[in-house]
Every structure is written in structure tokens, then in C-alpha cells.
């Protein structure tokens, strides 16, 4: 019974992590430099979900875990702004500024899906609680 709560919690945590990466992707939509201050536009991050077999219940129920946060490797979005302080000085893209290439629409849809999945797990938790409550009713 309590294992179901743990499983649902793993779902909640996973979806929460996913929402965090989405907000990170949206917050950094104009970040032109990386954390070391080098000129490198932000790349979107995505969590990787896998079934958590190590925590499987004897009946075969499995939770989910975030095994990795992967960084996208996509060509940046180039905008011609030769007077911009971060414009590329030489090469093919001279005079262009490299912006992060984040698909805002996809991020929002992902956020919506994560929210719904979160709600679904909360719903299952509610059912679990009801079941436990009902089981205790045997004693009455």
C-alpha cells in the first residue's frame, strides 16, 4: 500500500524536474554566454526518464527516475546585428549574434503535459489514500 505512494511520489518528482528544466529553458531564452562567461548561446536541457527497476515492488510496480539531464546540441539562431557587443567578429557568421534556439511552443506544450502528468500522479495518490482508509474501516 505504501509502495504505491512511493511510486506516485517518484512520478511527482520526475514531473517536477521536467518543469524545472522547462523553466530553465524559457528563462535562458536570451542567454548568449555560458556559465564561464564565454560566448556560447544557451542550449535547451531535457530530463531523461527511465523506469526505476531497483525500487520495483514484488508485484512488478515500478516508479520513475530521472537518470540524466541531457543538453541539446542544436545550431544557434543567428541574427544579423553587426553593432551588437556580442556580434561574431570573424568567419562565416561575421556580424551575426548567436541566440539560443529554443522552441517556445514546444516548451509550453511540454510544460502542459508535465502539469497534467503531475495531476495524474496526485490523483493516484488520492486513490491510494482512499484505499488505505477503506482498509482501516475493516476494524470499525
Amino acid at each position: 500500500m505504501f509502495a504505491s505512494l512511493d511510486i506516485s511520489t517518484s512520478g511527482l518528482v520526475a514531473q517536477q524536474t521536467r518543469l524545472m528544466t522547462i523553466s530553465s529553458n524559457l528563462a535562458n531564452i536570451s542567454s548568449l554566454r555560458n556559465e564561464n562567461g564565454e560566448l556560447e548561446p544557451y542550449q535547451a536541457k531535457y530530463p531523461i526518464f527511465t523506469p526505476d527497476e531497483t525500487q520495483a515492488t514484488p508485484s512488478g510496480g515500478v516508479g520513475v527516475k530521472v537518470t540524466a539531464i541531457e543538453t541539446e546540441t542544436i545550431e544557434p539562431r543567428y541574427r544579423y546585428q553587426p553593432h551588437h557587443p556580442m556580434a561574431i567578429q570573424s568567419g562565416k557568421w561575421k556580424g551575426y549574434v548567436a541566440y539560443p534556439n529554443i522552441n517556445v511552443m514546444a516548451e509550453f506544450v511540454d510544460a502542459l503535459e508535465a502539469t497534467r502528468a503531475y495531476e495524474a500522479n496526485l490523483g493516484v495518490m488520492e486513490l491510494t489514500k482512499n484505499m488505505a482508509q477503506q482498509t482501516l474501516q475493516i476494524l470499525v
Partner: protein
């Protein structure tokens, strides 16, 4: 004596039903938790398989054998209780997972109904025993 008293009722069968529904609830909760896991295959415990075994066990009344969940899951043909459903109900999505939320929620609710039914029957059974023990119908 108490074993005979309790064994002659439907209590053991109801107990096994509860055990099964609780185990199945865990599995279904896992399906919902893995809703957005790519390549995840829906897991389920077979209700028909459980009911079949329970029926067989009940028919062996003299030497009552409890169809324990553990015994069930390690039985013939690999793992029949954990079989992935092969039906149109579980359409595979583009990410390789086949968790249909509506289907899973329906199964969860059905499972809960089965659980609550077993509990209500258990309660009635205990109440009847209580009545028989006290010998007072008005209780």
C-alpha cells in the same frame, strides 16, 4: 477451532482479493508514474488469471491453499501476471511508450471498486460472526 470458524467463511478468499487489488494498485500506480517515460510498456496483473486461481483454490476446500500473489507471479509461462497487454487499448505513442492515461485510470477505478467490494463483504462477514458469537440478533 478459530481456524475452522474463519476458514469456513469467505474471509480467506476476500483477504486474497484485497491482497491482489493492493498489489495491482501498485502496478497501475507505476504505469501512471511512467506516463512520460519513453519505451515504457504498460504492466498489469491479470484479473482473470487471479480469479481463475482463486476459484481453483476455493474448489480445493479440504486442503485450503492460499493462492498467494507471490506464487501466482512465478507460475507457468514465465510471468503471466505481468504480461504486457496486447490489444488496441494500448496504442504505442511516438515516444515508444504505450501508457494510455484514460485506460489506466479506468483500471485504477475498477480495481478500487473491487477492493471496496471486498472490504464491504469482509465487514459484513465480521458483523455476522459477531452476531453469531453474541447470540443477539438486535446487535
Amino acid at each position: 477451532m478459530i481456524d475452522q470458524l474463519l476458514g469456513s467463511t469467505t474471509l480467506p478468499a476476500l483477504e486474497e482479493s484485497l491482497r491482489f487489488t493492493e498489489a495491482r494498485h501498485e502496478v497501475l500506480a507505476g504505469n501512471i508514474a511512467n506516463w512520460s517515460t519513453p519505451d515504457y510498456e504498460v504492466r498489469d496483473l491479470s484479473v482473470t488469471e487471479f480469479q481463475q486461481r482463486l476459484k481453483e483454490a476455493i474448489e480445493l476446500q479440504q486442503s485450503y491453499q492460499r493462492p498467494s500473489i507471490r506464487g501466482l507471479s512465478r507460475s507457468k509461462r514465465g510471468d503471466p501476471l505481468r504480461e504486457v497487454r496486447q490489444s488496441l487499448k494500448t496504442i504505442r505513442y511516438h515516444d515508444g511508450s504505450n501508457v494510455g492515461l484514460e485506460q489506466q485510470v479506468t483500471e485504477l477505478v475498477k480495481n478500487q471498486l473491487m477492493h471496496n467490494t471486498a472490504i464491504t463483504l469482509l465487514q459484513n462477514q465480521f458483523r455476522m460472526l459477531q452476531t453469531a458469537i453474541s447470540g443477539n440478533i438486535s446487535v
